[in-house]
């Protein structure tokens, strides 16, 4: 089977710097109000908060593709979900279908007054000649055709956001979790990565505290200041 290009965000490493959001806007020169990628923080301000960078997840069974009435969305042979802005009628069905809020529209309004849908292309452009001006204007940079990965993943300082072939990045993530001994709970470790162990062992399971967590540390104690 051909490669399946995916993103994965390691929430234990994401520091909510929004570097990926900035890199995406800069690389693709998306207009004001269109954010192909954004960072969502869960339990903001509470000890134990987590941040996750979200964009189009390039679903293998994409709901946006299933609901599009003009069938303008398609999978490339590497599993990247792209769309044709020439065919898009701006109905917004994909926006309602997407569980990640990936499709963006340049205008607000009702049916077909929102303009053409815009979404993360995995930096792979769209249905125009690769690296042409027309492609850049409609879909942004085509880094994949240059043999590169999406700008957001490549610039991530903590390497929280990874992009690339699913098998490879899943293996990198698995090695991290096995080394540090915690972290996969949010994603459902057994479903996604449950393979026989090679090397490290996962010590922490479920909701309990980590075995190396200092309970009186300032991060876990609301009334305490970091010193």
């Amino acid at each position: 089977m051909a490669a399946r290009m995916k993103f994965i965000c390691d929430v234990e490493r994401c520091i909510d710097c929004n570097g990926c959001v900035t890199a995406c806007k800069n690389e693709n020169e998306t207009p004001w109000g269109v954010n192909r990628r954004r960072v969502v923080t869960i339990n903001d301000g509470v000890p134990g908060e987590r941040s996750i960078s979200v964009a189009c997840m390039h679903c293998t069974d994409a709901p946006c593709l299933a609901v599009c009435p003009v069938n303008c969305i398609y999978h490339t042979e590497d599993g990247i979900v792209l769309h044709s802005k020439d065919q898009c009628i701006g109905c917004g069905y994909c926006y309602y279908a997407c569980p990640f809020g990936a499709p963006q529209f340049p205008e607000t309004g009702l049916f077909n007054h929102r303009g053409k849908m815009d979404k993360c292309t995995f930096c792979a452009g769209g249905p125009e000649p690769d690296n042409s001006e027309a492609e850049f204007k409609k879909y942004g940079r085509n880094r994949i055709a240059e043999g590169k990965l999406p700008a957001c993943a490549e610039q991530c300082a903590t390497k929280a956001l990874m992009g690339g072939e699913a098998d490879i990045i899943a293996n990198i993530y698995r090695q991290r979790v096995e080394t540090r001994g915690y972290g996969p709970e949010l994603w459902g470790w057994k479903i996604a990565y449950g393979r026989p162990k090679r090397g490290g062992e996962i010590k922490n399971r479920g909701e309990g505290r980590r075995n190396n967590q200092l309970l009186d540390d300032s991060q876990n104690e609301v009334r305490k200041f970091p010193t």
Partner: protein, 72 residues
């Protein structure tokens, strides 16, 4: 009645065809993905050399693993 039966059958088939989902992975044929004209990723910059392109992308994917540089 004899004419009505095949007509009903055709109407039912037509009705059910509206319930079908589009093919999610149509494949690249004659320069198009199900009617959307697009090039393969390795066609232009890599001159159709899929192996070279996939080696470049895999290299960069593996670079995201800093444990390869300094194993903790």
């Amino acid at each position: 009645m004899n004419i009505l039966r095949p007509c009903l059958g055709a109407a039912l088939a037509l009705l059910l065809s509206g319930c079908l989902e589009v093919n999610q992975h149509p494949g690249w044929r004659q320069g198009e993905y199900a009617g959307k004209r697009d090039e393969l990723h390795y066609q232009r910059n890599f001159h159709g050399d899929k192996l070279a392109w996939s080696a470049a992308v895999t290299d960069r994917t593996l670079l995201q693993n800093e444990y390869r540089r300094a194993n903790p």
